[in-house]
């Protein structure tokens, strides 16, 4: 399948370029089809390839030595993956896994450097993309390090819990994130920690509060 010129034109990396420049760039881009669940970028490896999600969605995540996963974000169509490793020449910062069938467009490091040399506008676009990425990651660091998110999540769970006959209000993880002043990724991690500690039990669409006292203690110690 030919690389879609329209896709490249609308990508934040290549916006503002002439049709001729886009056509030239398209020749340096290759397509890769990735099956559902496949990890197409490994943390710590040095691929030297920048990817754009053309269709589907990919999970960007890091894994700790103990096998714990921290999702950094979800890359959707139009978004780029592996920017930092391509520009600093270091290893891939995170892994990428296809959440469904995914098509990505890849550009090799040396080709990307040539594109930037030939099109200074791309450098300005890249700065904007990377600045946005830094802003997002700094807010994620802030949430993970300074804010006592687990205590806030514990508070939300106790506040909105229904007791037996009475149905509690239903909340999405996004809504909990908005209430706790954090991002959804941190809510997912907090719920996992609460479950591991035996305070709650995740049962399909239900969050069962197994140890109310443990949740109360978490609120006290994190405030």
């Amino acid at each position: 399948m030919a690389i879609q010129v329209d896709f490249l034109k609308n990508s934040p990396y290549f916006s503002g370029l002439t049709p001729a420049a886009i056509e030239a760039i398209a020749k340096l881009v290759f397509e890769k089809k990735v099956g559902k669940g496949e990890i197409f970028l490994l943390e710590g490896e040095s691929d030297g390839v920048l990817y754009f999600v053309a269709s589907g969605a990919a999970k960007i995540f890091k894994t700790s030595a103990e096998g714990k996963e921290q999702i950094l974000g979800i890359a959707r169509p139009g978004e780029s993956i592996n920017d930092v490793a391509v520009f600093d020449g270091g290893p891939n910062l995170a892994a990428a896994q296809a959440m469904g069938n995914v098509i990505v467009y890849g550009v090799r490091k040396n080709n990307l450097e040539a594109i930037i040399r030939d099109n200074p506008q791309v450098a300005a676009n890249v700065i904007r993309v990377l600045a946005n990425r830094v802003r997002y990651l700094v807010s994620l660091v802030e949430d993970l390090s300074f804010k006592h998110v687990i205590g806030r999540i514990a508070k939300i769970l106790l506040r909105y819990a229904g007791s037996g006959a009475e149905t509690g209000q239903r909340l999405t993880q996004q809504e909990m994130a908005a209430m706790a002043g954090t991002v959804r990724e941190v809510v997912g991690r907090s719920l996992k920690v609460l479950e591991q500690e035996g305070a709650i039990k995740m049962d399909h669409h239900r969050i069962l509060i197994a140890d109310r006292e443990a949740l109360k203690k978490m609120i006290e110690t994190s405030s």
Binding site: G56, G162, S163, Q173, H205, I207
Partner: protein, 66 residues
């Protein structure tokens, strides 16, 4: 009957990302709008909600004192 994600068809832009990421084949597109596939079961992984940019799909949790 097992609980399924909540769909707001008005918000759906028919991109199909949710259908792609669903592990259970519990979602389908009908006339470019997402719908639940009643034959299949949902395991409430919430990945459809994660990828949906328009908020057409939500997977709300019920919080219960055990």
């Amino acid at each position: 009957m097992i609980e399924m994600p909540v769909i707001d068809p008005e918000k759906c832009n028919g991109c199909g990302l949710c259908v792609e990421v669903c592990h259970c084949d519990a979602l389908i597109l009908v006339d470019d709008v997402v719908a639940v596939n009643p034959v299949e079961e949902c395991d409430w992984c919430t990945e459809c909600e994660i990828v949906c940019l328009t908020g057409a799909l939500t997977c709300p949790f019920e919080i219960i004192i055990d």
